[in-house]
Symmetry: C3
Subunit: 349 residues, 3 copies
């Protein structure tokens, strides 16, 4: 049901400008919004769309507030205001409390009475499911695992034995928490599996995307701290520790025993090697490959822009000869030096 | 049961040369084929194998037709003829119509009487399952989702609420359609989740590989147009649009809000950044990373060939000094200029 | 229950030094170990921790044996000894034999009486489940598939029809074995699916990580030989053959029809293109992209180190001008040649 704009302003802590009685039923884009919708502008590049939108209200920064006569919420962080408004207008539907009769519950499992266990779930022996937890269809929760209050697992999630999730977790379908880390010893050309005796321990307010995998520790635990956000298809190796508030985009891989700091941002398909330490407040660009620890906060990038294929062939050929360039430069510099004083602008030998 | 070669020729629209009465029971490789099998040659490099094959018949291009005396189907597109022949000889087994008693069907779900719902599926409330649809074991179909006629979902597929698949879809195990997009706003170093209120809308004749994930839109829908073919372990972010007839190979990632054109070919493990537009008829080579929109059709590549590790170390070291090379070149050119007229072959400063 | 150190020494084939009566209950890290635990040292860099550990015993190489007075197991391969000790101290819990009443068993399936089939599994028609096999909850085993003796499938594994696993396999949740390979022919801008009529055939002692996918062959089989170890989120295309004892780290992709030799090591997120042959004993570094066959054993690398973003921009700009560098070098060398005898250290033109 619609909420008057003034109520929204108050509940999300934004400044109201204009008619606060406008009823708002949904969020929408500036282009698609109708009079019952609120839209938002965060990128000044799209300021022109403020003129043409049919939205009933908009969310803008102070700098854009004068660009529209529409009723509006004004905030220095319009994207956060949009997020809060969207949560109010599009609340998650609560699943009915109780255990579906087709679910299979192991001995000694403790399921809070307010929890909702959907059809065809398997809850392992001694697992603990907290208050108001929702577990979607066909999830498999291992023996002794624990799911914190108010968490939501979508369909087909797998949690291995003894792993624990904190409160308010959201786990998407296909995610696998607690599979064995990739540990084995080589002996005479054959592999000996190393039992993975640690767990995965996940803090509060963590979201885990579809088909993401987090391996259990070899001896000690793999740890994901509070408010970490993981997109889809991420792989986190055994014994990693992901610091609080860090966000990792889709398809990234973190090899075993690496520690990622707090408030980091790891781009999509980035790869971070094993046994590294990444400082707090580090941003790794998408597709960047990190094989050394990073001590200094900041943004790091290591990608190659594509070229039309024919140009790339010529470029790649030059790239392979790169080490010869250096020798040729030195030879030329030797020649030049005999003729001229050294004019090189840098300290290279 | 075997089909006479002449019948195959007629049904797939290829030209018959030689004895049309040969009964063909299966497709096989040139090396492994016996007299009941048909093999094919598309790469002229393997022309020699035409001489030694024990196949009962072959599929060849006009250019290779004279290289063998075997009965044959001749076509300018022998690979397409092979595909059609294989479909005739190896038809998909129809699953028995009906709902397995162990499946759990939500209230108001409409399941066509010719559809087949396997054991331990969960069909959400109000979902619509079309005629002749086959849903494999342990799939979870969300509330209000719709699966078009003649579609096939293998085991353990997850379709979130409200998402729709067109006709003749094939979805492989572990695929997740409609999980939340990775959207959140930052406020005071913490994340606020943005409800993902859009859907995934998938056209006709789309194939989706194992463990591929397609996220639902934040506000509007994520769209996959007709005849798109997606391999395994692909990630498609929220609000993407994938144009008709585009094929994407395994492990590729498409970040949010990107539009891929029609008839594109995206190589394996390619990464395409967010908010980009890729024109129709663009080919992206495997492992290539795209962070800018592409307006001009053609093939784009951006990979680095590996080297023996010791050579790579020397090469990588030179690569890190690349910016110094430029300064040194300029210095040398400054020296040379004083001696000689400019002989540089290009317009670089 | 604890095992005396002397017994461990005998059972794993390591040399005992010191008090063999110490009871050992668990493995632990040097830092965290208490007196009931055994720890290990493989990296001489951590030798200092030997002094401070509270472990009851340690596993060391002969070179480190004199660095500690603790009771110890000494071996030239301490990591392998650690693996064997960990297996003894942390044995896998045997699941109870029998078929859970909620599992759905297809007609003609043969399930060994010592096998354990967990809740909500679906076993297809004619599938064969060997002695002492454990199948976790919610797995889907296709018609005619075969699982060898002593194998363990964790929850939510999918095995397609006709695929076979050897003995002592371990398959983690979300793995999909036998989905269709990505094969299609193009005709008039549309795709025609090529039926994938081969199988996946997996040898003995293979481990397959969470959400890893291995596609069935187009005509012949995809083959994974004995003692291959696959981490999570790996994609193996149709008709690949992975040689015995090869290990592949997480997120790697192997495109179709490629043959990987024996005893290879493929790093995380490495990509190996299609139709290639990789020799035995090849190591591919993480994130390296291989598009040509490799005939010579050894380690191959092809990655780019990241830079602080601002530096990267300057570097990437120079990289794009790389082909111009070559022309400029040639021009300078032409100038120099007129002045001086050729001093170039290499054979470049």
């Amino acid at each position: 049901m619609p909420i008057p704009l003034a109520d929204l302003a108050q509940r999300v802590g934004a400044q109201l400008q204009g008619d606060g009685s406008v009823p708002i039923a949904r969020v929408a884009t500036l282009e698609a919004a109708g009079p019952d919708a609120i839209a938002f502008l965060t990128n000044p590049r799209y300021r022109g769309k403020l003129q043409s939108t049919r939205a009933g209200a908009v969310i803008v920064s102070p700098a854009s507030a004068n660009d529209t006569a529409l009723p509006k919420l004004v905030s220095a962080n319009p994207y956060a205001v949009y997020a809060k408004v969207a949560i109010l207008l599009h609340p998650r539907e609560a699943a009915p409390a109780g255990v579906h009769p087709s679910a299979v519950i192991g001995q000694g499992a403790r399921i809070a009475s307010s929890a909702s266990i959907a059809a065809l779930c398997v809850i392992g022996e001694g697992a603990v499911i907290g208050e108001r937890v929702t577990i979607g269809p066909a999830c498999a929760i291992g023996a002794g695992a624990a799911i914190g209050e108010d968490s939501l697992l979508h369909a087909n999630v797998t949690i291995y034995h003894q792993c624990t999730l904190g409160r308010r977790a959201i786990v998407h379908s296909g995610a696998v928490i607690g599979a064995d880390g990739f540990g084995m010893a080589e002996e005479n050309g054959r592999w000996i599996k190393i039992p993975q005796t640690g767990r995965v321990v996940i803090g509060d307010d963590v979201e885990i995307g579809a088909n993401t995998t987090i391996d259990r520790g070899a001896i000690e635990d793999t740890v994901v701290e509070d408010d970490v956000k993981l997109d889809n298809q991420i792989q986190i190796g055994h014994n990693c520790r992901i610091g609080a508030h860090t966000a990792i985009a889709g398809c990234a891989g973190i090899a075993g025993s690496t520690r990622i700091g707090r408030n980091c941002k790891i781009g999509g398909a980035a790869l971070i090697g094993g046994h590294l330490t990444i400082a707090d407040d580090v941003t790794i660009s998408g597709a960047t490959q990190v094989f050394d620890s990073i001590d200094v906060p900041g943004m790091y990038t290591g990608v190659i822009a594509p070229l039309p294929h024919r140009e790339w062939r010529r470029w790649a050929s030059a790239l392979r000869r790169l080490t010869t360039f250096e020798g040729r430069l030195r030879a030329l510099e030797g020649t030049a030096r005999k003729e001229q004083p050294d004019t090189r602008p840098d300290g290279e030998p």
